[in-house]
């Protein structure tokens, strides 16, 4: 099985450049604006889209993404509407890989089999579920692989060599290396430490490795792009979105552009990177 994710990383490898992965929260601050933002991301230079599923209790997220989730929920966002958003995006874009990222409970309550079928039909390519470590693979990971979706696992600074094979065993699409022990948007990642970690993970897998958590600027994105197969930016984009809202937290005429412009600047940073050493 080849997903849009596999195809995209193969293309980028041919081009000799690192992927730029963008994260935004589905439904932040409302469904219509959120769809416009997601549509704008590929044009602004995003190679892969991660779309957050809002959840009331996001235990691995910092204040920015927590607030984004609450804005989306306040606007009436649900998992079902998140899939509607993906379906609407796919009408105009059948190439950009789209990964849903979030926590297990909304999926568990939706029903795993129904969710996987609906996600596949809507045009979702992969899943990143923060609170499902390999110890819980039977819950969603194995069924997702059977349904033809990539299950992208997080590896972290605490995932040592002994544990890596278990973490990588059922991972597909790419590996998401969390560059810091911490929550989203907290500290900045050190590019040299990231380089060593990526090299360590590469000894265990052929999969592309994308690095996230703590990347906020084009310079930082470039530094990571030189060490890894992709860099992920989330909190900085969510903050740009938030800063464009009115005092009631509603979208303004500037909102879509605010996210698109920062995406374009970050993409320039990534594209200016020297090819990662193989």
């Amino acid at each position: 099985m080849t997903t849009r994710i596999d195809t995209r990383f193969a293309e980028l490898k041919k081009e000799g450049r690192s992927a730029f992965v963008t994260y935004v929260m589905a439904g932040d601050p409302d469904l219509a604006t959120s769809l416009e933002i997601v549509k704008a991301l590929p044009k602004a230079g995003s190679d892969v889209i991660e779309l957050g599923i809002p959840f009331t209790d996001p235990m691995a997220d910092g204040p920015s993404i927590q607030a984004a989730g609450l804005r989306a929920l306040k606007g009436g966002m649900t998992l079902k509407k998140t899939l509607d958003l993906v379906r609407a995006f796919r009408k105009d874009d059948n190439f950009t890989p789209l990964v849903l990222m979030g926590y297990y409970n909304p999926i568990y309550i939706y029903g795993v089999d129904k969710f996987l079928a609906d996600a596949r039909t809507a045009g979702v390519d992969g899943l990143i579920i923060v609170d499902l470590p390999p110890e819980e693979d039977d819950e969603l990971c194995i069924p997702a692989l059977k349904a033809g979706l990539n299950f992208i696992r997080l590896a972290t600074p605490t995932t040592d060599d002994k544990r890596l094979p278990a973490v990588l065993a059922n991972t597909s699409g790419f590996v998401y290396y969390v560059s810091i022990a911490g929550i989203t948007g907290a500290a900045a990642a050190d590019a040299n430490a990231v380089g060593e970690a990526v090299a360590r993970i590469k000894r265990h897998t052929q999969l592309p490795i994308c690095v996230g958590f703590g990347i906020r600027t084009p310079e930082a994105a470039r530094a990571i792009a030189e060490k890894a197969d992709g860099s992920v930016v989330g909190t900085a984009l969510v903050d740009a979105l938030k800063n464009s809202l009115d005092s009631e937290g509603r979208a303004t005429a500037k909102t879509v552009n605010a996210v698109a412009e920062l995406t374009a600047a970050l993409a320039q940073g990534v594209k200016g990177a020297k090819q990662a050493a193989e």
């Binding site: 927590q66 110890e135 696992r153 972290t156 605490t158």
Partner: protein, 403 residues
């Protein structure tokens, strides 16, 4: 569902009680959770660990806690003979210290010097701050901003003991958000930090480990009832937020079919309104590292709990309770804010023992159950905490009632 051979054999090696429990945590925490499981398994098998625990439980905590015949309450209700298991007499004023002592002993074995905890009513926070002071460990307690306001005496106590109390402003600003924030701290400081969870929830091995440390309550009750009456009790009653005082009393009796067991959830304003009764009003979901009964909406979003008692104000319950509910071994009831308040006043006036508002929920159901039972029926209720911390809040409410 088939009846198991024993109700005391769980969890399995993956931390499951039936479909409940498990290890639903971020990868960053997983290696540490596996380390903790290893360290706890080793401690459990080490006689030196048990000897050390026993010494501190006796000389520092003040165990065994008495099993007290509540003569005037019994007379007043006119039915079952009621005994109070006096956990409120423990050092720090609640059952929480039994578990904290155990976890701090494990943390010391693991070489961790920084302890974090979440707290609702503040009893677990106080117990953690106390033992961190005793063993010279850094202590950070996360507490919802709403709870900081309604449990002021415990906040002062924690600070006096040298702990840092962090008011949590996210979400509903109560116990669940304190737990989210503690998990975020743990993910960030995973290398040097031990998370001392206050109840039988969280990822495996916490529900099992906390239960084991609290089982001293039920084990003592067994011996004490044998001494007092020469037999087993006929029924047990305890309040349930996460459910650690309840499981501690219940677990040693689960395989005695003659013992009826009642857990009491917080029904808040009533089960059709805002409440905190996860079993009565929730369904299975995944939060804070385990699958269990949760209060949530149709989309799987966690709903706000409400209880007059900060310690019960949580939208979930320990996974072993969810399982005991599904297999039918324990009956889960609920008591409203008003019922708990009446029980608080009744016990204060009849026995001179103001219970914690949490424990008052258990007393409230004793008031219903005891009159329907014969005079030779032996009923044990866990008096899990003392009410001193609640007096400012209760006096406000009573003032309001008079007006």
């Amino acid at each position: 569902m088939n009846k198991p051979n024993s109700y005391r054999s769980g969890p399995d090696e993956r931390g499951h009680f039936g479909i409940f429990g498990g290890r639903f945590v971020a990868e960053t925490l997983m290696p540490l959770i596996l380390d903790l499981e290893k360290a706890y398994t080793a401690a459990k098998a080490d006689p030196a660990f048990h000897a050390e625990m026993k010494g501190y439980l006796r000389d520092y905590v003040g165990r065994p806690s008495p099993l007290y015949f509540a003569e005037r309450l019994t007379e007043h209700l006119g039915g079952a003979k009621i005994y109070l298991k006096r956990e409120e007499l423990n050092h720090t004023g609640a059952h929480k210290v039994n578990n904290v002592l155990g976890q701090i002993m494990v943390a010391r074995r693991m070489g961790k010097k920084r302890i974090i905890a979440e707290t609702g009513a503040g009893q677990h926070g106080v117990a953690t701050a106390t033992l961190c002071a005793r063993f010279g460990l850094e202590c950070i307690v996360y507490m919802g901003a709403v709870d900081v306001a309604r449990q002021a005496p415990n906040v002062f106590r924690m600070e006096m003991l040298g702990a840092k109390v962090v008011p949590v402003q996210s979400g509903t600003r109560t116990l669940k958000d304190a737990m989210n924030e503690a998990l975020r701290d743990w993910v960030t400081n995973v290398h040097n930090t031990f998370y001392c969870i206050g109840t039988v929830a969280g990822p495996h091995p916490y529900p099992m480990m906390v239960r084991d440390f609290q089982c001293v309550i039920g084990e003592e009750t067994r011996t004490q009832m044998q001494e007092a009456e020469g037999r087993l009790p006929d029924s047990l009653v305890a309040c349930i937020g996460g459910g650690s005082n309840a499981i501690g009393l219940f677990h040693p009796f689960l395989d005695d079919p003659s013992v009826e067991i009642f857990g009491v959830e917080a029904a808040g304003h009533g089960l059709t309104q805002l409440h905190a009764a996860s079993i009565a009003g929730g369904r299975p979901g995944v939060l804070h590292g385990n699958r269990t009964y949760l209060l949530m909406d149709a989309d799987g979003q966690i709903q706000d709990a409400h209880s007059i008692s900060a310690g019960l104000d949580y939208p979930g319950i320990g996974p072993e309770h969810s399982w005991l509910h599904e297999v039918g071994r324990v009956n889960y009831l609920s008591a409203t804010d008003d019922e708990a308040l009446d029980a608080f006043l009744l016990l204060s006036r009849l026995e001179g023992i103001p219970p914690a508002l949490e424990s008052a929920h258990a007393i409230a159901k004793v008031m219903e159950l005891a009159p329907k039972r014969p005079k030779d029926h032996l009923m044990v209720v866990n008096l899990s905490g003392r009410g001193d911390k609640d007096i400012p809040q209760i006096s406000e409410i009573l003032k309001g009632r008079k007006q």
